[in-house]
Symmetry: C2
Subunit: 193 residues, 2 copies
Amino acid sequence: MINYPNKKKHNNRKIVSSANRGMNFESMINQTNDFYLNNDIAIIHKKPIPIQIVKVDYKKRSAAKIVEAYYKLPSTTDYNGIYKGKYIDFEAKETKNKTAFPIKNIHDHQVLHLTACRNHGGIAFIIIYFSTLDRIFFLDAKFVLEYYKRSKTSRKSITLKEIENHGYEITEGYRKPVDYLKVIDEHYLKKDA
Amino acid sequence: MINYPNKKKHNNRKIVSSANRGMNFESMINQTNDFYLNNDIAIIHKKPIPIQIVKVDYKKRSAAKIVEAYYKLPSTTDYNGIYKGKYIDFEAKETKNKTAFPIKNIHDHQVLHLTACRNHGGIAFIIIYFSTLDRIFFLDAKFVLEYYKRSKTSRKSITLKEIENHGYEITEGYRKPVDYLKVIDEHYLKKDA
């Protein structure tokens, strides 16, 4: 596989994705959001990690120093914002699994949150990165809920086949490592027109 | 002034607000958002405070303990979400000033963020709490930008009179200490119909 020094738009997914090697998935999403933001395409931010602050040291002359704090479970998803007047909400997840996405990677309250956002008229979804396969998919909250429900009584994961059938593969755009708005343009906003 | 033990809906603002005494402004907003969420009216959350984590202690058997971290400047506003299909974005600010709201209470990037959200089709605004007067106002991002620009060359605050003229006073609803969605219903969504 050729390792292109500059990230350019190629049709061959394998060549494209080689450029992403070494960049972690979160950085790829953040870089994409930065591109959207800097080009006034969309305003989508990652929410800060929720922290329970227990003790802060104000004694120092410099900035207040937090000396005891703990990670809290997020009550929502990691990303939200606005695109073409639409509310956007999603969670990004990575798996090394080659054949399925384990449902346990998403918290219960995140499934409920995505479902609620969808019911209120937002575009809500998860982005799944199969890191071993180097393939990225967009899966609507509707299907996330469906497979989440199934996991309570039956299969505890969503197969790659199911994701291929019900989701959309996300390709890389120029300076947009995970160009998920392209999926929204093609599969959500065209319908409205 | 009568101090009602239970918060009920009254027409008299002064009696209503007495129930809020002792509750800080952020709690009032959060309680309102909880009400909206629990009654499936809107999905609006406060974003976590952004923290720069420097050192984490993983040695303990219990949860990972953050032992060195610092507050970061927020890059966006504190609150966002969805209501009746509309993207909602706002910042809540409190002032003890009785005659004007000092512009320096809002960061530059927050003004830009609110303006961008508005330009992309969202409903973006600030909520100003005049704590001494015990009056709460909703001011659209359009006016925030206008007065922010003015502050660069002229007056560094928005007068109460200007806020009264261009904003909307927010009243308390039943179990909704800061019922800002009522303003949106009356002044934003009716126009669309």
